[in-house]
């Protein structure tokens, strides 16, 4: 573990320094990420935009600890994740990261409540009762009080995505990563889901959304434009709250 200077640890959640990700396809080397430097502070609401092949998905995978960078360092909450084992990365994902996917990725045989419990199953020291309670609370937080015993195929698209967001939030993550969260939803439902993200942001959640839709990105307060594995623009479009309104403890 590497400790950061004090004044930075309480603000900076994500720090990327010269991060590169190179894929080898045959003899060709593809620079999916080509020297990314990025700081994201607590409670920031970031949208990552760019055409397909610009490296935004790779960035997402690296931020989500699903993938390791080829070179450079990635510090999450002041802790260098570059040299963690796959088990160590899994632990980081389990305790600090929440994923929301475009196609929801709910397990069809489990009901909404059990889907939300999924990440808690892999966390140490949770009991059946505490998982159940936490899952119910999180579902309430995303505005789903009914139909919690329904299976995914009995839920609407918006409800599915709410369940998926609840699952991402159930472990109280430091960062919420959403990959095209509205890609499979109609406009009206998309607005509802984006309002939920706004609400979570107001509650102090750090959010990173990958999208290519302008109206989705407008919800964010900081927009990163990517092209050819590099960040070509980084603009703040809204007020960046430095102090979160609720002091939620983020455990490691």
């Amino acid at each position: 573990m590497q400790t950061m200077p004090q004044e930075k640890t309480d603000r900076t959640v994500i720090r990327l320094q010269d991060v590169r990700r190179i894929y080898k396809v045959g003899v060709e080397r593809i620079h999916a990420l080509d020297g990314i430097d990025l700081d994201i502070r607590k409670n920031e609401y970031v949208a990552v935009m760019g055409p397909s092949g610009s490296g935004k998905s790779t960035l997402m995978n690296i931020l989500g600890c699903l993938d390791r960078c080829t070179s450079g360092t990635y510090e999450l909450n002041g802790r260098n994740t570059t040299r963690l084992s796959s088990g160590g990365l899994a632990h980081v994902r389990n305790t600090q990261i929440g994923f929301v996917f475009q196609s929801f990725e709910l397990l069809p045989r489990l009901n909404a409540l059990k889907n939300v419990e999924l990440s808690l199953i892999y966390a140490a020291g949770t009991t059946w009762l505490s998982r159940r309670t936490r899952a119910r609370e999180t579902l309430v937080r995303v505005g789903l009080t009914e139909r919690v015993k329904h299976r995914p195929n009995q839920l609407s698209g918006g409800e599915k995505q709410r369940v998926a967001i609840a699952r991402a939030l159930s472990n109280n993550p430091s960062i919420l990563l959403a990959d095209e969260p509205t890609g499979n939803l109609d406009t009206k439902t998309s607005e509802g889901v984006m309002k939920l993200f706004d609400q979570l942001h107001r509650e102090g959640q750090t959010i990173i959304i990958v999208t290519h839709e302008e109206h989705v990105a407008r919800h964010a307060e900081r927009i990163l434009q990517m092209r050819d594995g590099q960040i070509i623009s980084d603009e703040r479009t809204g007020p960046n709250r430095v102090t979160p309104p609720s002091q939620e403890a983020h455990h490691e």
């Binding site: 989500g64 699903l66 899994a90 996917f101 045989r109 949770t126």
Partner: protein, 420 residues
């Protein structure tokens, strides 16, 4: 402290979770699971049925020995393979009644003994006859050694013995086949051209067992002295020792006594053999072991085939659920947790097969037990065989489930989530 406790607790929680998931998975694919486990089912069913049959047979044999008497010693003439007696003719090898004259005084561990002769003759009564009836010469002490009660009439007495009277005891089978009355005392039958008076009916041998099958149930008993006077046949003896624990001492005493009465010098080999029931039990155990080994081989092959089936279906399961694995990894499942999940699924699948196999084995056992005259009517599956079957099934699950589980655990979450 909490951290120390947390890891095993997490493991138990994951294990329970994995078992729940596995049961759900099997339930969701009922047909597939059943077909997959058929190799295991057949293997386990076969092994439990064979073990049940052998256990039943063994119980039967033991029970028979109890009625037969575990404290009996058979004394049989024996031709030595070497030494000077090799060239002796049969006159020297056969037993003479006088060689047993004061046996009881000289062998304190022996409670009783009877001289025996056995030959096969045709028995007549009027126009009825039985070919190949077993004609046995016995001492009156036979009644104390064999636990066979006299149903009608009286047992042999010393008077019969001393006078060499032509009297006989018959079994109910002989009586029925000769069409004699139920109470046939005083009737006469012809054995070897001589007429014998029936003085009693003695119960037949225990039927359907190892030893019951070895001899005929059509037996005629005559006093030993009578047989001796008529035919001077080959004889053997059956002795009983006072306690089963005294068997070894009794054998030593008998050997010492017989070597004296048969005038064997030091260094001469025995010209007789002492056989006890345990010897038979030993040879039975040998046969049982051989059968078990053969059955074990067959079962091993079928478990191997079954295991390959399990591996195949687990590989299918892993590839079908690649996205699920990807998601589980994304939400923080460690490779070990995924490994556990699929390993447990394979084990549960095998245990399910084991359970089915035991049920079918039980069915087969019940059917085996109903086969008449097979001596298998006591067949049952002992508890250890149930444990063994489940143990084997679980081992197959671990062995053949390991590869697919490792494959699942090693999946890259990004690729897994991209899988269609």
């Amino acid at each position: 402290m909490i951290r120390l406790l947390a890891t095993p607790l997490l493991f138990v929680a994951l294990l329970l979770q994995s078992i729940r998931l596995a049961l759900g998975q099997i339930w969701a694919n009922k047909m597939r699971s059943t077909l997959t486990t058929i190799g295991i089912v057949i293997g386990v069913a076969a092994v439990t049925a064979v073990i049940a049959a052998l256990t039943g047979l063994r119980a039967k044999v033991l029970k028979e020995f109890e009625t037969f008497g575990t404290n009996k010693i058979f004394i049989i003439p024996h031709w030595p393979r070497e030494g000077k007696f090799r060239h002796f003719n049969w006159r020297h090898i056969r037993f003479m009644p006088k060689q047993f004259e004061n046996l009881l005084e000289r062998c304190p561990s022996i409670e009783d003994y009877t001289l025996m002769t056995e030959r096969s003759l045709t028995v007549y009564h009027g126009v009825q006859n039985i070919e190949g009836a077993s004609i046995n010469g016995i001492n009156p002490s036979w009644h104390r050694i064999e636990n066979r009660s006299v149903i009608i009439g009286r047992p042999f007495t010393l008077m019969d013995e001393e006078h060499g009277w032509q009297v006989c005891l018959i079994t109910p089978d002989v009586r029925d086949e000769l069409r004699l009355d139920r109470d046939c005392i005083g009737k006469r039958i012809v054995v070897g051209r001589r007429s014998f008076e029936i003085v009693g009916v003695v119960e037949g041998r225990v039927k359907g067992g190892m030893f019951g099958d070895m001899g005929s149930s059509k037996e005629v008993f005559i006093p030993f002295e009578t047989a001796w006077r008529l035919w001077e046949p080959w004889i053997y003896a059956v002795a009983s020792c006072r306690e089963p624990e005294l068997s070894k001492e009794a054998q030593a005493e008998l050997r010492f006594y017989l070597r004296q009465t048969r005038r064997l010098g030091p260094g001469d080999p025995d010209t007789f053999r002492l056989e006890v029931i345990e010897e038979y039990l030993k040879s039975f155990n040998k046969v049982a072991m051989a059968i078990t080994a053969v059955a074990g081989g067959v079962v091993g092959i079928s478990l191997l085939v079954g295991g390959v089936g399990i591996m195949n279906i687990m590989l299918v399961s892993v590839s079908e659920r690649t996205r699920e694995i990807g998601l589980r990894k994304a939400v923080g499942a460690k490779p070990s947790a995924i490994l556990l999940q699929f390993l447990v699924e394979a084990i549960v699948l095998c245990l399910f097969g084991g359970l089915l196999g035991i049920l079918i084995g039980q069915g087969m056992t019940s059917m085996i037990a109903k086969i008449p005259n097979s001596g298998l009517d006591m067949a049952y599956i002992p508890l250890w065989a149930v444990g063994l079957s489940f143990g084997f099934a679980a081992t197959v699950g671990v062995f053949f489930g390991m590869f697919p589980a490792i494959k699942a655990a090693r999946l890259d979450p990004i690729e897994a989530l991209r899988h269609e």
